[in-house]
Symmetry: C2
């Protein structure tokens, strides 16, 4: 990166807006707090070898039929016949160790799909936030926080996490120039951080998960720093980043 | 509208996302605070008869060549050869009384263009906020706050205004169900309302306008309730709404 222009952080609220924010120099952080990116971090923390993100259920099924483990979620529900949905609790335990898993979700894997040609694509969640921020700051690059949203709509939980990332990154390097979305999210996170669970109580997707009795999932996904794993996309496949 | 499901308010941060939020029953409020929608309200308050919003400079020029008044702005600057840019101060005075004006702007007229087939499209700004909220509540309809943004990106001033609208509408009718974007903006506005000018000091477009020495425009556009005019789109043309 040139030394003259300041490093930038911006946030994009929907995969459908990615083309507007696209910038070949940026590292893209994929965010789908409830629950895809939280689950992906959990899988690698528990020893998964690779996750192949795919956009459609048919693609995931094709992997499954070849004998691979496969996860598929639509509208917050695990699709029948698959090994996993997108609950982090599905990805804990011996059954994921050393495994390659194909995964499709309503929102998160769509965000990976649109940004797959970026300079670098990494996976962010509250559960790996500090490790991710440390690494991002060390890279000296522009950062784009890509919120998966809900079916291309803005959602509150991804936005609050993007606000938390903005705050943490700015703390580590106060020279980042923040785009308008990050300025807004930074303020929003200041209001949310005391009690994110309560702050999210009126959010549409929390309501959706609450109806499905997924309160434990919500609580888990809002816990910071459970892992140092940073999942990174390499040749279309997510692997655990090797840090020095 | 059915009596069973609650009335909804949602906000869309970019014309490029409109297709996701589109809903045939909603009233769409077009928001481009710096400066198109503020200027449009000013024009009607000063007696303009009609404003024809057009997407391209060529279309505006065609109207101009037919002898009509025409405004054209790109990148915050009035285009040479046109009668107006998008400064509200351009639209004050005798020269607009009874006139039809063609207008194209970087963002605002694009937002009108994408939503023109909605149930109803109205123009919102701080300068007509109370009159607009009173009317919207009386309509008993879903409301979509369509932020024009900056070249399809989220911007802070349109978002804060959408937050102000959310707060004012909810005050008048606490039964509106708020989409996630409105929940976020409602919080954001609570932080901004004491001093919007200061709150916006780091915003990208305020910086842009500040460089162009447009501080008076910024101050004017943030003043609430200078007019009762509600511009409404009728057959592709903006006119002043006739209230009972």
């Amino acid at each position: 990166m040139s030394e003259e222009s300041p490093l930038k952080i911006d946030a994009c609220f929907s995969p459908q807006l990615y083309s507007v924010y696209k910038d070949e120099d940026s590292i893209v952080v994929i965010i789908d707090i409830f629950r895809a990116t939280s689950a992906i971090c959990t899988a690698f923390h528990n020893g998964a070898k690779e996750i192949i993100p795919v956009a459609t259920v048919d693609e995931a099924r094709a992997y499954k039929e070849k004998g691979m483990l496969a996860g598929a979620e639509r509208n917050a529900i695990k699709i029948e016949g698959f090994d996993f949905g997108n609950s982090p609790f599905d990805y804990m335990g011996e059954h994921v160790v050393g495994k390659t898993i194909a995964l499709t979700t309503t929102n998160g894997t769509q965000a990976i799909d649109v940004s797959k040609d970026a300079y670098k694509v990494v996976i962010g969640a509250f559960t790996n936030m500090s490790a991710l921020c440390d690494w991002l700051v060390s890279q000296n690059r522009n950062i784009l926080l890509l919120c998966s949203g809900w079916k291309n709509r803005f959602n509150l939980e991804d936005s609050i996490f993007a606000g938390a990332m903005t705050a943490e990154l700015s703390k580590r390097n106060p020279n980042y120039k923040l785009g308008d979305a990050c300025l807004a999210l930074d303020y929003l996170y200041q209001m949310a951080k005391e009690n994110p669970m309560k702050f999210l109580s009126r959010a549409s997707h929390k309501e959706r998960l609450h109806k499905l009795n997924l309160k434990d999932d919500i609580r888990y996904c809002l816990q910071p720093d459970l892992t140092d794993c940073i999942p990174v996309l390499e040749n279309g496949v997510l692997v655990k980043m090797k840090l020095r």
